[in-house]
């Protein structure tokens, strides 16, 4: 099912089957070039496949934006150990809901992406790790897997190519941290979802201590298109050093929330005004989260001239992240936003390391007290100070993900925190964005 009508400004590549009748069915998939990319790849050498991915400038869509071709090339193909393909479908990042739309509407493109990755690194099994709360997707995926097995697109000697590949679906149990790649692997292995020391990275020692390719759902879904249309064509859709389109989940104070597939480099202003249809009630933009709540928050001024790509966001000291865009209008209480976010991170901190476990909890407690009207000016400094001293010192990036928005909130919206102490509180008018 689709949650929003498409926008004419979209560039439909990964989402081109969305809206087709029975788009998730293998029949629909096969009728629209489905599994052709795999057949093509099966006649290529692994190096050629990886070169094609490199040429596409595809960067990981899970948040970190690591070049995918390069990641695949790190897998030691000649290792005597089995190799695995692992799909990160945990999609826990607040504001992000694009992997779900992909898995729901075009699960076979994910399967095909895994097959091609398998060819590239000599893997013969893979796991799709799906966020616990997406339980309904398991059925959809299981059905797609069964269809693929039934039609000979999974299993032994796929379509006479001599290539064997098995793919399994696995659900998490409701932990944001299990989206972090190494915690995901622990969880997949049936252990407590805490991250691993890296190096070694999953490419060398991943699932069951074997070399593994671990990518986001959207990353895998892009692979068949790259193989079919060529890396260069995909690269040309985006900007230099970052090819293709990005599924962008637009939420918050926006007239037309939804998931839209846009070229990398799409202007932020146009995203809000034209794709999203502007902010309800003609309100002004106050704050903008570009790619999930873990990215530093941008002010309206900082959004001027910004485009949705890695470099533009990096130059504004934020990140493109996962593509979860959150729009906040002028009435949004940033104190409340701070409380909501800190609650999320302290609830989701896995607890493995001191600065994140204790830091996020402390921030939450201060924010709660502050929000309840028992704050002081010293608290505003303390919030920033705690966050800055978590930053870069935690075991995994979750600690940073909590610290960054906190720092940007107290630095960029300090006035509002001070006003709050004086009793000037903002109440949202345009729908309940932030519930506490």
């Amino acid at each position: 099912m689709l949650y929003n009508p498409p926008s004419p400004l979209e560039t439909k590549v990964l989402s081109r089957r969305f809206g087709l009748p029975d788009s998730a069915a293998i029949g629909t998939y096969l009728a629209t070039d489905g599994y052709q990319a795999f057949l093509k790849a099966s006649k290529m050498t692994p190096a050629q496949i990886i070169d094609e991915i490199k040429a596409s400038n595809l960067r990981g869509r899970g948040g970190a934006g690591f070049p995918t071709g390069m990641k695949w090339s790190f897998v030691p193909r000649t290792s005597p150990k089995p190799k695995y393909i692992v799909v990160n479908g945990d999609e826990g990042e607040p504001g992000t809901c694009k992997d779900r739309v992909l898995m729901e509407n075009d699960p076979h493109s994910l399967i095909e992406g895994c097959l091609i990755a398998g060819l590239a690194v000599d893997a013969h099994a893979g796991y799709v790790y799906i966020r616990g709360e997406y339980r309904y997707l398991i059925e959809i995926l299981e059905k797609a897997l069964a269809e693929a097995y039934a039609k000979g697109w999974l299993g032994k000697n796929i379509q006479g190519t001599g290539f064997d590949f098995d793919l399994y679906a696995h659900t998490g149990a409701g932990s944001y941290e299990c989206g972090e790649e190494s915690a995901l692997l622990e969880s997949l292995e049936g252990k407590r979802g805490v991250p691993r020391i890296r190096p070694p990275f999953p490419a060398v020692s991943g699932a069951f201590q074997c070399p593994s390719v671990l990518n986001n759902v959207e990353t895998f879904c892009a692979v068949p298109h790259i193989l079919l249309g060529g890396g260069k064509a995909f690269a040309d859709l985006g900007v230099p050093k970052a090819g293709g389109t990005k599924l962008t989940a637009l939420s918050g104070h926006i007239n037309r929330p939804g998931v839209y597939e846009l070229r990398l480099g799409f202007p932020v202003r146009q995203l809000i005004e034209e794709v999203g249809g502007g902010i309800p009630n003609g309100k002004k933009l106050k704050a903008f989260i570009p790619g999930g709540s873990s990215c530093p928050i941008l002010t309206a001024a900082e959004c001027e001239g910004a485009t949705m790509d890695y470099d533009s966001m990096a130059s504004r000291k934020s990140m493109l992240g996962s593509g979860g865009v959150i729009i906040m209008d002028e009435d949004t209480s940033m104190v409340k936003v701070g409380l909501r976010l800190m609650r999320f991170y302290s609830h989701e901190s896995c607890g493995w390391c001191i600065p994140c476990r204790e830091g996020t909890t402390w921030l939450t407690k201060i924010m709660t007290r502050f929000y309840d009207g028992n704050g002081s000016r010293a608290d505003i400094d303390l919030l920033g100070d705690i966050a800055k001293n978590m930053l870069g010192r935690t075991f995994c990036p979750l600690g940073d993900a909590a610290a960054l928005p906190m720092i940007s909130l107290v630095e960029k919206f300090r006035d509002e925190f001070e006003d709050y102490l004086k009793g000037k509180r903002r109440e949202e008018t345009s729908g309940r964005l932030v519930t506490v």
């Binding site: 932990s175 941290e177 407590r192 979802g193 020391i197 302290s346 609830h347 989701e348 901190s349 896995c350 607890g351 493995w352 390391c353 001191i354 600065p355 476990r357 204790e358 830091g359 996020t360 909890t361 402390w362 407690k365 201060i366 007290r369 303390l382 001293n389 870069g392 010192r393 935690t394 075991f395």
Partner: protein
């Protein structure tokens, strides 16, 4: 060896083998990098973030525990950024810490206190409520105070990796993450207390020690555990003549910091209410308390009388008493009482082993060898239950050096889990091809191998074509010393043949002797009635044997006297007095006093441990060990003979008690803590 890597830490030009961690390299150079979760010998978890250091060309601070040194690396541990990071880490840690140092067991020796003192801030900015959870009792031994826990995961790792038990884990997440036991609300494990010992704070505390004392009020005495033959050093913390705890935090001794429940907590038998504190003499059929002089006179007079009448004597010694006591006892038997009727409960066929190895050198494996051997073959024994230290060493060898462990036992054992091969039964010969391919080997066997079985094992080992060492397993803290000291009818000290036959343990218990003198043994345990005309017993408790005696002399336990003992692996160590029990005397002293009463003092020589030990050094091959090693608390390896043993080894007399983790002969019966573990399991 690959070329060393060159790097600098705080401006010092250093080098270390590739793969060395920055934290180790710094430590070696005398630079302290604070750490909670890093622990030598355990896997890395990098959770505490205390060890952050600055590394040139790296954008972020790096954890020194996980960072290997690299050529040209420039590390700084003494910069404002590093200091700030440490200070904040401690502030974070203390936010939810109860700071109940005034009543915490760990106060005064707590790593968190020390770190806060050195690296922390004097004041906290935390004004919110703290997370609190009530204290829990996991087992008779283990208590857990979650709020004090800093989640360093040392306990989890030492239990899993060190002990191979894996009884502790972590539940929940975030700030309410908690250490949890393996059976929901309680722990079922070895109860060794390694988790408690390794805990840097007062989160895990022991049932025996908690709330007993402040650490700085104790005196610490390093001695040797008196239970099994593994010979662990245990440091007893005493106050007001009471033992309050045992541990080995200074890692001295052959066991490092390892101890099982018996070494760490099983000292408590010494102040059991049933402990004998006055000599007893049978009067009108009843044992009555008398003075030492009366009791000693009664014994001496009887001995003199029987000597005069040319009556018969039998002497049963102990495998718990010291070498000095055993040596002195057999000397007394042979030279004063003129008899070879002397024996002890033999728990392993040491004699055949030494005989089979005659003419070869360096054939007895030490505890350290078990950690270094490339391969280990375990025959018969359930090491984890009966020889906890040896089991620990082999496991550590496997974890740290990937040693190949071969198991040939009748039943499943803990070593199976990581063994290179497991054979159920006794067919070790089927492993020949694999063992031949090993660079070297240590073979351990229990009492199910004796006599010709041992000769076969040695023959097997010697034809493998690789260096092989052996461990004949025995039961008790000085089982090995008892044989070395000549506590058998057929052998004198140092395995010299006595030449004259004498009665054995069982024979003596059943014979119509004029006098049976039992020192630290319980031959009538099974309920037989005494046959001897006169029965003298030296013991700590009124055992089944003592209850039938004419004279009972209250003996001191190993923690109340000085001397030496020899572990099952032949390592000679000193024991040291930690406490005194009023009324009890060391067996050596008692024997000396009996000699004096009989006018045999000059013949026997002084009965001080040092003087007797000097005599042993001269008389027993292999015991002429360097004194400095011994005096400083070290262990000295002994090989008491290298040649054929010209006497029948009597393998038929060898029988092990096979005491597991929570049993220890008479001592175990009077240990509250060991019994409470057994009871807690039975009540389940």
């Amino acid at each position: 060896m690959p070329d060393p890597v060159k790097f600098t830490i705080d401006g010092l030009a250093l080098s270390a083998p590739p793969g060395t961690s920055v934290i180790d390299a710094a430590k070696k150079a005398g630079i302290e990098v604070p750490s909670f979760c890093y622990y030598e010998g355990l896997t890395l978890v990098a959770a505490c973030r205390m060890c952050l250091v600055e590394v040139e060309k790296m954008p972020k601070l790096m954890t020194a525990c996980t960072l290997p040194v690299a050529e040209g690396m420039v590390v700084r541990t003494n910069t404002p950024q590093v200091h700030t990071a440490r200070k904040y880490m401690l502030e974070f840690l203390l936010t939810n810490h109860p700071l109940d140092c005034p009543v915490c067991d760990k106060g005064g020796e707590c790593e968190l206190q020390d770190m806060a003192f050195r690296y922390g801030a004097g004041e906290s900015r935390y004004t919110e409520t703290k997370v609190h959870t009530p204290e829990k009792q996991f087992s008779p031994v283990v208590f857990f105070d979650a709020p004090r826990c800093i989640l360093c995961y040392r306990c989890v790792r030492v239990c899993d990796e060190g002990m191979g038990v894996k009884a502790l884990g972590v539940v929940s997440r975030g700030v309410v993450s908690e250490i949890a036991p393996n059976h929901g609300d309680h722990l079922e494990c070895d109860e060794c207390g390694a988790c408690i010992d390794i805990c840097p704070v007062g989160a895990l505390t022991s049932g025996t020690y908690r709330y007993q004392t402040r650490p700085w009020e104790m005196t610490h005495v390093g001695t040797i555990c008196t239970h099994c033959s593994d010979g662990c050093k245990t440091t007893l913390g005493t106050r007001n003549d009471r033992i309050l705890r045992g541990n080995n935090r200074d890692r001295s001794g052959i066991n490092g910091e390892f101890l099982c429940i018996k070494g760490r907590y099983g000292f408590d038998f010494y102040d059991h209410p049933d402990r004998l504190q006055a000599p007893l003499v049978r009067k009108d059929g009843k044992l009555e308390e008398v003075s030492w002089s009366e009791a000693l006179a009664a014994v001496a007079n009887k001995f003199q009388q029987v000597l005069g009448e040319e009556g018969s004597f039998g002497i049963i010694g102990s495998n718990h008493t010291t070498n000095e006591e055993n040596y002195y006892l057999q000397k007394f038997a042979r030279q004063v009482l003129g008899t070879n009727n002397i024996d002890h409960h033999r728990t392993g066929d040491v004699v055949t082993t030494l005989d089979a190895l005659s003419g070869k050198t360096g054939k007895l494996a030490t505890v350290a060898d078990l950690y270094r051997a490339k391969a280990v073959l375990v025959l018969g024994a359930d090491l984890a239950l009966e020889h906890p230290l040896l089991s620990f060493q082999i496991r550590a060898n496997y974890r740290h050096h990937q040693a190949h462990v071969y198991v040939v036992t009748a039943n499943p054992v803990r070593e199976d889990k990581y063994a290179a091969a497991v054979v159920r039964g006794r067919d070790y010969a089927s492993l020949a091809a694999r063992l031949k391919a090993e660079p070297d080997l240590a073979i351990l066997f229990d009492d199910s191998y004796k006599g010709d079985d041992i000769r076969a094992v040695v023959e097997f080992g010697e034809q493998l074509g690789i260096p092989v060492k052996y461990v004949p397993l025995v039961d008790r803290s000085n089982s090995r010393g008892a044989v070395d000291m000549g506590l058998t009818p057929e052998l004198l000290p140092g395995y010299q043949p006595s030449g004259q036959p004498g009665l054995h343990y069982d024979e003596m218990a059943a014979a119509d002797l004029s006098v049976l003198w039992v020192v630290g043994a319980n031959p009538l345990k099974a309920g037989a009635s005494r046959k001897a005309g006169f029965l003298v017993v030296q013991d700590m408790f009124l055992t089944e044997t003592a209850a039938q005696a004419d004279v009972v002399l209250p003996a001191a336990c190993a923690y109340e006297k000085n001397g030496t003992v020899t572990s099952g692996t032949g390592e000679l160590q000193r024991i040291e007095r930690a406490v005194n029990t009023m009324g009890a005397k060391a067996d050596l002293e008692i024997i000396g006093y009996v000699a004096r009463e009989m006018g045999a003092a000059a013949k026997m020589g002084p009965w001080t441990p040092d003087a007797v030990f000097q005599e042993i050094r001269g008389a027993v091959r292999g015991y002429n060990v360097p004194m400095p090693v011994l005096v400083t608390g070290g262990a000295a390896g002994t090989t008491p003979i290298n040649g054929r043993v010209a006497a029948d080894a009597r393998p038929d007399l060898v029988r092990s008690d096979h005491n597991g983790l929570f049993a220890s002969g008479t001592l175990g019966r009077y240990s509250k803590i060991l019994n409470s573990v057994v009871e807690s399991r039975q009540s389940r």
